[in-house]
């Protein structure tokens, strides 16, 4: 079965540094998402993306966050100036369509640790 792949699996950074988390969605999918999971907490929606635009974002997704589709295969999440509370597992997901009720496929995540 096709998979969403994420790199790196672990990222350690210093507070205030910029990080870029990378994802390769499933090739025929058009809608892309980032979710995060702080240790021991719920998986939380961050942002959805389609046609090179953000379609929806949560209150977590502030000006420090940005997403980009730099080429035909990658989808990235950038955090400009990391804070301690950004430490979490970040999951990328994709779906064929963006309407509610579409099956989301998740990657294995990038564990971000901000020191």
């Amino acid at each position: 079965e096709p998979e969403v792949t994420q790199t790196p699996s672990h990222q350690v950074t210093q507070m205030g540094q910029e990080v870029i988390l990378r994802c390769v969605p499933i090739s025929n999918h058009l809608y892309f998402y980032w979710y995060r999971q702080i240790l021991g907490q719920k998986v939380e929606f961050l942002v959805s993306f389609y046609n090179n635009e953000i379609s929806e974002k949560s209150e977590i997704f502030d000006d420090q966050f940005s997403v980009e589709r730099p080429d035909g295969s990658n989808f990235t999440l950038k955090i400009r100036s990391t804070k301690l509370e950004d430490s979490a597992m970040y999951f990328c997901a994709s779906s064929v369509r963006g309407s509610g009720g579409e099956k989301l496929f998740f990657g294995s995540g990038t564990q971000l640790s901000v020191l």
């Binding site: 998986v43 929806e56 509610g100 099956k103 989301l104 998740f106 294995s108 995540g109």
Partner: protein, 113 residues
């Protein structure tokens, strides 16, 4: 705000028994519900979904039940196997909107031989 939550944080069962994992949701506007399985070090894996026009849906060894009256969702796993050990999340969404899911807190299922 409105959220999805779970009644039991952990569930221990014997191999071969049936498992039932419960979930309560509070957003009455949600009309799409999904169960995900998350194994250690992996992302959420889709198990089964159900739309609000249904009360029950069956898959392979899994059944999801939806009770809209009391806003309750359950996942039943038949003949639980060691490979079923994982954290299970319910999630809710809206078919009319973008694919933004609200996840519950998760229940850890531990299957003992």
């Amino acid at each position: 705000g409105e959220s999805v939550g779970l009644h039991l944080p952990t569930l221990s069962v014997q191999e071969g028994d049936n498992s039932i994992i419960n979930c309560a949701y509070s957003n009455s506007a949600s009309d799409y519900f999904i169960w995900y399985k998350q194994e250690s070090g992996k992302g959420p894996q889709f198990i089964i979904d159900i739309r609000s026009n249904m009360d029950k849906r069956q898959g392979q060894r899994v059944t999801v039940l939806l009770n809209k009256t009391v806003k309750h969702l359950s996942l039943q796993i038949a003949a639980t196997q060691p490979g079923d050990s994982a954290v299970y999340f319910c999630a809710e969404g809206s078919e009319g909107g973008y694919n933004k899911l609200i996840f519950g807190a998760g229940t850890r299922l531990a299957v003992h031989p």
